[in-house]
């Protein structure tokens, strides 16, 4: 099992004078999973963005550790995968081009061809891998976000509204990934859906 730990300490977020949430704290080791639930506007996506490092908290801290050593920002980018409605890929590139270009920018090695084929097939996009993303439907773009999140074999997977825009086949693929992932890595799911929240062993309710 990977020796990774996520520690969120008294994280609060305000936008101007509006308090979104206050003093959220939790710690997750590999093999643990957490669902973040709450009504619309309670800050689920905001908390997810803070944990993923794309938004700064007003107060508090988010820290990743390998053993006793705190990971720096660049190391976290190699360990973390995020699927979010706010994430988009580049329309003018093909699915494969998006993966290889973003891998180059992340300075991670391109995946082995067998793994690449495996995850593209897992999300039923292997036949469309060389097509431009602008030709994809919204459901296909959502599947491609999963491929992007898993391409570099992360140790932490964060899913915000995991099954939005997906058909039954896509939902099953996501459920399989989540089940497999939480056994040996860290899984965080932000959702309104109680069945998705039940994928995780622990829960935080916002709002």
């Amino acid at each position: 099992m990977k020796n990774l730990r996520l520690t969120v300490t008294e994280v609060s977020k305000h936008f101007n004078r509006r308090r979104i949430f206050q003093d959220i704290s939790f710690s997750l080791n590999c093999g643990e999973s957490l669902s973040i639930t709450g009504r619309n506007g309670s800050g689920k996506s905001t908390l997810v963005k803070i944990v993923a490092g794309v938004l700064s908290p007003t107060r508090g801290s988010v820290q990743f550790y390998r053993g006793e050593n705190a990971l720096v920002e660049d190391d976290v980018k190699h360990e973390l995968g995020l699927v979010s409605p706010y994430l988009q890929l580049y329309d003018e590139f093909s699915a494969t081009e998006n993966m290889t270009i973003l891998s180059s920018i992340r300075a991670s090695q391109d995946s082995e061809p067998s793994y690449r084929e495996h995850i593209f097939n897992q999300f039923n996009l292997w036949d469309r891998r060389n097509d431009l993303v602008r030709t994809f439907s919204s459901g296909m773009k959502q599947r491609l976000k999963y491929i992007f999140a898993l391409y570099h074999k992360p140790s932490i997977l964060i899913l915000d509204e995991p099954t939005s825009n997906l058909d039954e086949e896509g939902i099953n693929a996501v459920r399989e990934v989540a089940e497999e992932f939480k056994k040996s890595s860290i899984l965080i799911v932000a959702t309104n859906d109680q069945s998705e929240a039940s994928w995780c062993s622990r829960r935080i309710h916002l709002g």
């Binding site: 794309v54 700064s56 660049d74 590139f93 973003l102 180059s104 920018i105 992340r106 300075a107 992007f148």
Partner: protein, 223 residues
Amino acid sequence: MNAISSTYALVLKDFRSELRTRYAVNALIMFVVTAVAVIMFALREDHPGNDVLAGMFWVVVFFTGMSGLSRSFVSEEERGTSMTLQLVASSTVVYFGKLLFNVILTLAMVLAVTILYMLVFSGFVIETFSIFIVTVILGSLGLASAATIIAAIIAKANTRGTLYPVLSFPILIVLLMTVMSATSKALDGLELSAAYSDFVVLGSYCMVMTAGSWIFFDYVWKD
């Protein structure tokens, strides 16, 4: 080494994207051609002095830059790919990647304006090439540095079209005055040493703007 290869990959991504979308290049080309044509029609048979020609040269460069250099960040916000970039690259990589892209774009733009000016205005004759080359390089670097950080600031704003030139002008006024002065000396045929004071100002401006923008960028890039 990782940061350098990541930065290079980001610059390459932006060029590949630009080749496919022509997001910034079309705006730059159209503005350069239109601006030079308007000036040509306005001047007709008049032969302005070298200081006026130098001033008009950099006015065209400035406003062309305002129409195109913001797109490196605005396009990421408009397409929703800012978060994607934040997930794969540190703020240092993003800043220097976008800066390098804008420097190359600015140099290409200045080259295009230079060629057009030499074709259209018979009085635009570069007597001291060395002064002109150094001025163009330092001026482009300074313009791109300022334009990059301002683009990052306004990318998330609603009125970015108006805000960009409004924020840029006070920051760029020192640069513009200096490059106009140095270019005028190049057209007048003065010796390289006559422009040393201008080069010192331009070099200092580039260093301060680049370093300050790099420090400030992390706060701008992340909400």
